[in-house]
């Protein structure tokens, strides 16, 4: 089993995204670095648009997260509602 991960700049915009990932992926581990936050999870990790929207209280386009994205690893499967990183696809 290997990890997928995604790293964001640590700022006001990414905090709700990180919270949403942690809420939706119980196995995810968060690592705080200076100015960066990295979230790793075994095998797969999913970001749900709806969860982020609940936290920020407005419509959210998953593409918005690219503004603060630093890096990621894993195969990306993206549609309007979810972005999934995994090693199995």
């Amino acid at each position: 089993m290997s990890n997928v991960f995604i790293a964001f700049q640590a700022n006001e915009e990414t905090r709700p995204i990180v919270e949403a990932i942690l809420a939706d992926n119980p196995a995810a581990q968060v690592e705080d670095h200076p100015a960066m936050v990295k979230i790793a999870a075994p095998n797969s990790l999913t970001i749900n648009r709806a969860t982020v929207e609940d936290l920020i209280g407005r419509n959210f386009d998953l593409q918005e997260l690219h503004i603060n994205l630093i890096t990621l690893s894993g195969h990306v499967d993206e549609d309007d509602d979810t972005l999934t990183l995994s090693w199995n696809s």
């Binding site: 670095h33 200076p34 920020i56 209280g57």
Partner: protein, 330 residues
Amino acid sequence: MQIDLKTISIEPKRKAFDHLVRRFGDKAASRYQEGSYDIQATENLHYRPTWAPGQELYDPTLSRIVMEDWHAFKDPRQFYYSSYVLARARQQEAAEGAFALVESRGLHHTIDAALAQKVLDLLMPLRHAAWGGNQNNVLIAGYGFGTPFTQPCLYHGMDNLAVAQYLSRLGLLLGGTDALVAGKQAWTDGQGWQPLRRLVEDTLVIRDPFELFVAQNVVIDGLLYPAVFDAVVDGRFAMEGAAPVSMLTQFITDWSAESRKWIDSVIKIAAGESAANAAIIAEWFAGWSARAMSALLPPVEQAIGSEADALLGEVLSELKARLAKAAVAT
């Protein structure tokens, strides 16, 4: 010589203000939380207001609604000054774009004159109803208790002014200044508008901030906007050939749909606090919705004829469904 670059992660000693840590736990707080919670002045208020010596300057007992904690409310849109202004600026830009498109292509000339008159007859007097909404929400912001409850009301008051202004611009575009004058004339003297004007003016003297919230934001807005803008303007008038009007009222429909989320959440939290609160809200709703239904009938009837009754009935049952979701029995 070799130099190793190392980063050291320094844990901040405090992640948030103490009052936010007590409320939300020891984690970084959002700007909305910092700008809303525990900001209300609660003690050492010094003087009682000279115009009402029976109450404190900020007094939760002005309302019959009793909350253990008036900071239990939360605006799902999380509007504080910056997020509110940014969101509205974006919408303003979109609305300007719609006005520019309609004006530059002359789309408003494609509306048949009789239909344009019908649009003006329905929408122009509503500028004054929106002004009532502005006054009422500002009063709630002034006399209500707890920033998470009052702050969005102030914004909502400003939004009501925006609605009145967009309606004014729509009137100027379709009928010039005469349209606005005729609208005011209808509001003050037109037979069909008097029940609505009476209703709006009666809400202006409600002094219980939460009752005013129910009367204005839940009942009047909850019936007026879905009936007039969603059903008549975007539905009936657009089908008859006045689609450009829908472009000009786009902010109003979007804003009304967006603010419903917040209004529902306020009712849900207040009604969920206690059965007594839920009963008081239900009582206010019953009283004001009966009046609002009869007040809205003549203007809507003037616009769409005999189907007005059925349309308003449908809108009322939708509003009741919203309240049922918020655990208020209607």
